[in-house]
């Protein structure tokens, strides 16, 4: 039997268990902040990988995070809704906007797709930065976003509580997306990435699959955005600009997109690296850029696949198990 999902889901469970113990070990707000950021990034990379798994590099993915974030911030501060409602509403707004935008963008493919999604992300960024300053805060940002508040007698405002909330959200997203990846949906998505024309002539409606991945990915990105808004409590349009978008690409492709584990490991390692290099921002960008180039040149299937390839080579040397190709980005 192939693409068995039990093992990966169990793996996720173990990681979740390990993550859950963190607040028990430390109450240090810096560590909790970093850990929360890792989980937020992980949610985002998993949703981005869902799209990458069908062969799309959506340069506007970060914009849907922004749309979720601004939507929730405004619904809470202007309309007076509770965070617990806007958590889903914000994500829903992102998903609903993704339907027409995805329908337009997915009419083209390859380089045209990179560029049209990038163009769209710039429209969104310029919009938040320059229009309706009274609403979105303009260049000085949208401030005064409240923390999540109460639910079921629990107060979500301390670092441990926010960490716990993000951990639960992340777990739900990761379990769902891992399950999807190991299902027929993942099988078909990978087929589209490898040879979309062949998939289409075998009866796969490629457009519909890509749009589904686009909308579902945007929903999850919106979800991460809502949390981001109420975690940071301030939003700038540049939070959803090119730099965080490239960072998202780095997180996702460095580990390799062939399996769900690449982005997971890539996100954890690179978020930690980003924290270590925080004081040296120029160097951070320089190092990340160089790592991205070197990875794509020498290990285009990602570092996780590289270790897998090494393992297989070792096994072959010992005369066991046939060679197996990793699933890379290369078409």
């Amino acid at each position: 039997m192939e693409r068995r999902a039990a093992a990966p889901v169990a793996g996720v469970g173990l990681i979740a268990l390990a993550a859950a113990t963190l607040p028990l070990i430390t109450r240090d707000s810096y560590y909790l902040d970093v850990a929360t950021t890792i989980l937020m990034n992980l949610t985002l990379t998993m949703s981005f990988r869902l799209q990458v798994s069908t062969g799309q590099i959506n340069m506007a993915h970060i914009s849907f995070m922004g749309i979720g974030a601004y939507a929730s911030a405004l619904l809470v501060t202007r309309v007076g809704l509770s965070f617990w409602a806007t958590l889903w509403l914000g994500a829903l707004v992102a998903a609903l906007l993704a339907v027409p935008i995805g329908s337009v963008a997915l009419r083209v493919s390859g380089p045209y797709y990179f560029l049209i999604t990038f163009a769209f992300s710039e429209v969104v960024r310029l919009f938040f930065n320059n229009f309706f300053e009274g609403l979105f805060g303009g260049p000085s940002g949208l401030v005064g976003i409240p923390k999540p508040g109460r639910l079921l007698g629990l107060v979500f405002d301390g670092k441990p509580a926010l960490y716990g909330l993000m951990a639960v959200l992340c777990l739900i997203v990761v379990v769902a997306l891992v399950r999807l990846d190991y299902s027929r949906f993942g099988l078909t998505a990978g087929a589209i990435r490898q040879a979309d024309l062949v998939a289409e002539t075998l009866g796969v409606n490629v457009f519909r699959y890509k749009l589904t991945a686009f909308v579902l990915g945007s929903f999850v990105a919106g979800l991460a955005g809502v949390f981001f808004a109420h975690f940071r409590q301030v939003l700038h349009s540049s939070d959803f600009g090119l730099e965080p978008m490239v960072l998202l690409v780095v997180f996702t492709v460095i580990g390799g997109t062939g399996s769900v584990w690449g982005p997971v490991i890539g996100t954890i390692v690179m978020t930690l690296a980003s924290e270590l290099l925080r004081e040296l921002h120029h160097y951070e960008i320089l190092v990340f850029g160089a790592v991205l180039i070197l990875t794509m040149l020498f290990a285009p299937e990602g570092l996780v696949a590289l270790s897998g390839a090494a393992r297989r080579r070792l096994r072959r040397l010992r005369g066991r198990a046939p060679a197996q190709a990793g699933a890379g980005l290369a078409p």
Binding site: L197, G203, G258
Partner: protein, 255 residues
């Protein structure tokens, strides 16, 4: 008639690739489409399967118009194909390739996949069983868990056929199924095609190997420069003056 082309034309830039082509494919037959290089054979396949749009005419399948539909929809109606440069999902195992082919029969929506319901798992289990059975019948049983990109040419060709069959198609369109095969492998493949015909499958194929085409086909259509110049039984075609001239006129008699 299972498949019917009526006055089909395709123009690419200034080039008339196919001109006013009409032909019919009878159910349960093996139908060959031949012609010198550049005659437009592959274009005809692309037109039938909706890979490129036609500029005039219409195509009917089981008396329903299929021209203008998406490739995926055409496949759902019962036409599957292989490609000239064997096209597979190279990173997937042989069985996974066939499972993608079985998309139409197994495909559930997002919900069942997320919920991992019992009926979803049951359906996938049956799809795998059917996939294994299909692979076995085409001599691929032993390589089911190997990566497709690393198979020898013969097995890749067989796998491409298996993927087309897995869709449950009534008509399979094969673009050069014998290219690059040894004589013995060719004989095996033509035997498979005859067996499929007995199971009332219809086959439309493009092939350069004239001996094989004349041996296996019930009907042969000859194209030259996008125009149909002859159609008939292999015996009629072999003695047709226009066909002989077309092939002699071409640089290379396709054999």
């Amino acid at each position: 008639m299972l498949l019917e082309l009526r006055g089909v034309s395709q123009r690419f830039g200034g080039l008339q690739a196919v001109a006013d082509l009409s032909m019919t494919v009878a159910p349960g037959s093996i139908h060959g489409l031949i012609g010198p290089n550049g005659a437009g054979k592959s274009t005809v396949f692309n037109l039938i399967t909706g890979v490129i749009p036609l500029t005039a005419g219409e195509i009917l399948f089981k008396r329903e118009r299929i021209s203008g539909l998406r490739s995926a929809e055409i496949c759902r109606r019962g036409i599957a194909r292989t490609f000239q440069a064997t096209a597979l999902f190279r990173e997937y195992t042989v069985l996974q390739n066939v499972l993608v082919g079985a998309h139409r029969l197994a495909a559930p929506g997002l919900g069942p996949a997320l919920l991992w319901s019992a009926s979803y798992r049951e359906r996938e289990r049956r799809a795998r069983e059917r996939g294994h059975a299909l692979l076995k019948s085409l001599g691929l049983g032993a390589v089911a868990s190997q990566v497709a990109g690393q198979l020898p040419n013969r097995d890749q060709k067989a796998l491409a056929l298996a993927m087309a069959l897995a869709t449950g198609a009534e008509l399979v369109i094969l673009d050069e199924p014998l290219a690059g095969l040894t004589d013995q492998e060719k004989a095996e493949t033509t035997a498979v095609l005859r067996r499929l015909r007995e199971q009332s499958l219809t086959v439309l194929l493009v092939e350069h190997d004239m001996k094989a085409v004349m041996g296996v086909c019930d009907t042969v259509t000859v194209l030259d420069h996008g125009v149909r110049i002859a159609e008939g039984t292999p015996r009629e075609i072999q003695t047709n003056a226009a066909v002989i001239e077309a092939y002699l006129g071409a640089e290379e008699p396709g054999a």
